[in-house]
């Protein structure tokens, strides 16, 4: 019986074997892109969700700040300085009688913007340098890598202080300084990613198709380096905010009357005994926002890193 049957079906179809029998596969025709998959993973991550909520909260706070409070962030009321939290001043007032809640809300704008622009700046410049170094290698790589090495050998906060010292103290310059100190971090990350990708077979395959370097970088290398870059960017958001706060604290960042949180902390420093809330509130605000970004960053890392799946 066997022999006969074998003959029968060995003749059947050899030229065009159907790869899938329609039954088990027809259900899942939908294309699931790696991103959607990651998003699905992310949604299941409670930590990341919490981070997301925190960030959205602060974004909203920043956006609707004027609607929430009857005060302006620079409205002084010296008579009522250093008031503890009350129904009128939800989080109390600072040493010039300004409403702390209002300042925190407006400060959210500053911090989020600082994070955004500093990270974007560092990301763009760092990625370009990293890609150039990683893809073209040789002396360009040597040069760029050495510069990264040297820059990274300087403690970042010192470097930022030096940059601000050169440019002058202002929020914009603090932002530039933070972007600059983050460039080598992104640059290195992108470079190492590009170097590892360069060895990937699909890059070799793209070359074998006759693609030009530009296209390979844009269509193959970049999209595949985005995952770690996004993770780093999210985490970088947090560090940028912390760095801006540190500079603000040293008086090298935002200038009065801007309600930058680090600056608020610096101003409140002398009142730690008289009015602890002036010190606690901005600190907690910074911590929460940074925590939010870290939570999201962690979640993204897990979601985007196939190794972490289980």
């Amino acid at each position: 019986m066997n022999v006969e049957n074998k003959k029968q079906f060995s003749n059947k179809k050899l030229t065009n074997p159907s790869p899938n029998s329609p039954k088990p596969n027809s259900e899942e025709v939908k294309a699931i892109s790696p991103w959607r998959d990651a998003m699905r993973q992310l949604r299941k991550n409670h930590f990341a969700l919490a981070g997301f909520v925190i960030i959205v909260f602060f974004i909203l706070l920043g956006l609707v700040a004027p609607l929430l409070t009857p005060f302006a962030f620079d409205e002084q009321d010296i008579i009522n300085r250093l008031q503890p939290p009350s129904a009128e001043h939800w989080l109390g007032t600072d040493h010039l009688g300004r409403d702390i809640f209002t300042r925190i809300a407006y400060g959210a704008r500053i911090s989020l913007q600082v994070g955004f622009f500093a990270v974007t700046g560092a990301l763009v410049v760092g990625s370009i340098l990293g890609i150039v170094a990683g893809y073209f290698g040789r002396w360009i790589d040597m040069l760029i890598s050495r510069i990264f090495d040297i820059l990274l050998a300087f403690p970042s906060i010192l470097l930022a202080i030096a940059v601000v010292a050169i440019l002058g103290a202002s929020l914009e310059n603090a932002l530039i300084a933070i972007a600059i100190i983050n460039i080598p971090i992104f640059g290195r990350l992108v470079r190492s990613k590009v170097i590892s990708l360069r060895e990937e077979e699909y890059i070799m395959a793209a070359k074998a198709q006759g693609m030009k370097n530009g296209r390979i970088i844009l269509h193959h290398i970049l999209p595949n380096s985005t995952a770690p870059i996004i993770v780093q960017a999210t985490l970088g958001f947090g560090t940028a905010i912390l760095e801006a706060a540190a500079l603000g604290f040293l008086g090298l960042g935002a200038q009065p009357p801007d309600p930058e949180w680090g600056k608020m902390l610096a101003d409140a420093r002398d009142f730690i005994q008289l009015a602890p809330w002036t010190l606690i509130v901005p600190g907690v605000a910074i911590m929460l926002v940074v925590l939010g970004f870290n939570l999201i960053g962690d979640g993204l890392r897990d979601a985007l890193d196939p190794k972490m799946k289980n």
């Binding site: 002084q76 040493h95 010292a165 002058g168 103290a169 008086g251 009065p256 009357p257 002398d270 005994q273």
Partner: protein
């Protein structure tokens, strides 16, 4: 003749004198018997470290505070004022023109290194400062003597240099020959900057003299760990019997105000400088602590660069003067430990014009003036804020914020500009600023040090950062500078102040009276307006 009466203790409780006496006895008796246990060690905490212990080569107040204990000048200031008292010279006289001064020095005084103090030492010190070529001038190593240059009109060979020569008359007599009279010459001689260093030490240590101070003062130098502490100990052979009372003085650096106060409360330190005025109330109510104030000897102002539009317009300047609420600043930020200023001279100074009425806080008047000047629609202006706290302005940023707010009320938009201290000074000297904040601290207690430096046309590019120059004022100040008749000087200065007020080149803000706090065990401590006071008579009770 040099001992004070020790009445300056702010707690004038009745039992104070008793304990004081008891303790004086205790310590002098036991201090010698069983040394270590009952050692009287005083820790004085401050915000920054000394730059150098070679005082003449810095302008730094934190340096003087320490060197005051180690060195002495020919003359001394009274405990709480700039009244002259004897120092290393017990007597002095001058000729009628005020061009020759003779000082009679104390005899039997030795430096900490055992070498004798004499006229030769005085001569060497003064020549060292005056002559950049002098072998102890250490010019190669970057030493300069800026205060000397400022107060004596430059250095050897300069046109304005006042001191013609220093002559040793005998072992204990020294004579200064001036090429023209200088109204505040004697005042200068009382300054800590012109205290006498041991020539033997200059020889021995060379340019490291800044870390190895050797003087004749009540305490001698033991050690210095930078940015941390300076330790001084009693100089047993101090020329005044019974002094100093303390065995050790330690100057401790604690940059953070809050931390300093914590340290004081916990008893780690005995005296703290730079108390946040807001904390003064808390200190006062703490029975373990005493609050001290230092007499006002400074002046904080909002300068207006008169060489730049729109501040070249007197009306605008007056408007700004009316717009700023000095009282509020003094009240809110100095917690009352400041006097709203009318004149660019602290009250109590020779020639202080107390008849003048300052600009009142009057936003409406300010708006009127602005309108008159053609700025009905308001105007926009840069407000430069100094980045460092100074005695006259412990929190410049906050002051700037208040001013910003005040100006906004009258339609002036002020953008706060922050520069680091170095570029701040440089750029304001170059006139890049519009509105700017700055101040001035007195050193020798002479009005010229304020008015001449800040508002004389010749000081433009130096202390005069408002670029104000009024011929009449210049004339008056010049006269006052060379006059040695103090009455006459006072009149001249009063007139100058009147003119200045009218021209309004600056918004006179406050004269702050810095507050200090100490443990209540500290006795006989009297803060001096110059910010450096001798601790020779201070003692500790338990």
């Amino acid at each position: 003749a040099c001992s004070g009466d020790g009445s300056a203790n702010p707690d004038d409780g009745e039992d104070q004198d008793q304990t004081e006496d008891d303790n004086t006895d205790d310590t002098t008796d036991e201090g010698e018997d069983d040394a270590s246990d009952e050692e009287q060690i005083l820790v004085f905490a401050r915000g920054g470290d000394s730059e150098s212990l070679d005082n003449p080569s810095t302008t730094d107040g934190e340096s003087s505070r320490v060197t005051k204990q180690i060195f002495e000048s020919l003359l001394n200031f009274d405990k709480e004022s700039f009244e002259l008292t004897p120092g290393l010279a017990h007597d002095w006289e001058s000729n009628d023109e005020g061009t020759v001064y003779t000082f009679y020095l104390e005899e039997g005084v030795t430096f900490h290194d055992g070498t004798p103090f004499n006229a030769e030492a005085v001569k060497i010190n003064f020549e060292r400062w005056a002559d950049p070529e002098h072998k102890y001038a250490f010019t190669e190593e970057g030493y300069t003597y800026p205060i000397y240059g400022t107060l004596f009109g430059g250095y050897k060979g300069d046109e304005g240099h006042v001191i013609e020569e220093v002559n040793v008359i005998d072992e204990h007599t020294v004579e200064f020959v001036l090429n023209r009279p200088l109204g505040y010459f004697l005042q200068n001689m009382g300054m800590q900057y012109f205290a006498i260093t041991s020539p033997a030490a200059l020889e021995e240590y060379g340019p490291t003299i800044n870390e190895n101070p050797v003087g004749t003062g009540p305490f001698k130098f033991v050690s210095w760990s930078k940015d941390d502490s300076i330790v001084l100990e009693k100089f047993e052979d101090y020329r005044i019997e019974g002094l100093p009372k303390l065995d050790q003085v330690i100057f401790q650096v604690i940059p953070d105000n809050a931390a300093r106060l914590i340290a004081l409360r916990s008893g780690d330190i005995d005296i703290m400088d730079g108390l946040n005025p807001d904390d003064a109330a808390g200190v006062e109510s703490d029975e373990n602590l005493d609050l001290y104030t230092r007499a006002a000897n400074n002046f904080g102002y909002l300068g207006m660069n008169v060489s730049k539009a729109p501040l070249d317009n007197k009306l605008v300047r007056q408007a700004i003067n009316h717009a700023v609420n000095r009282e509020a600043i003094a009240e809110a930020l100095y917690a009352g430990y400041a006097i709203p200023a009318t004149n660019p001279l602290p009250p109590g100074y020779l020639g202080y014009n107390d008849e003048l009425e300052g600009y009142e806080y009057d936003p409406d008047r300010a708006k009127e003036l602005l309108a008159e000047a053609g700025y009905e629609g308001g105007l926009e202006i840069d407000l430069w804020t100094m980045p460092v706290a100074r005695p006259y302005m412990p929190d410049p940023e906050t002051v700037a914020e208040i001013i910003q707010n005040d100006l906004a009320q009258v339609g002036i938009t002020a953008n706060i500009v922050r520069e680091e201290w170095a570029p701040y000074l440089e750029k304001t000297a170059n006139g890049e600023q519009e509105l700017f904040m700055l101040g001035w601290s007195g050193t020798n207690g002479d009005p010229d040090y304020f008015l001449g430096s800040l508002l004389h046309g010749d000081s433009i590019g130096g202390g005069n950062r408002s670029f104000y120059s009024n011929d009449q004022v210049n004339e008056l100040l010049d006269q006052a500078k060379v006059s040695i008749d103090q009455e006459e000087r006072a009149e001249l200065y009063k007139e100058a102040q009147r003119l200045i007020l009218e021209d309004s080149p600056m918004v006179t803000l406050v004269h702050s009276t810095p507050v200090l706090a100490a443990r209540n065990t500290v006795k006989n401590y009297v803060p001096h307006p110059s910010t450096s006071e001798s601790l020779a008579e201070v003692e500790l009770s338990n």
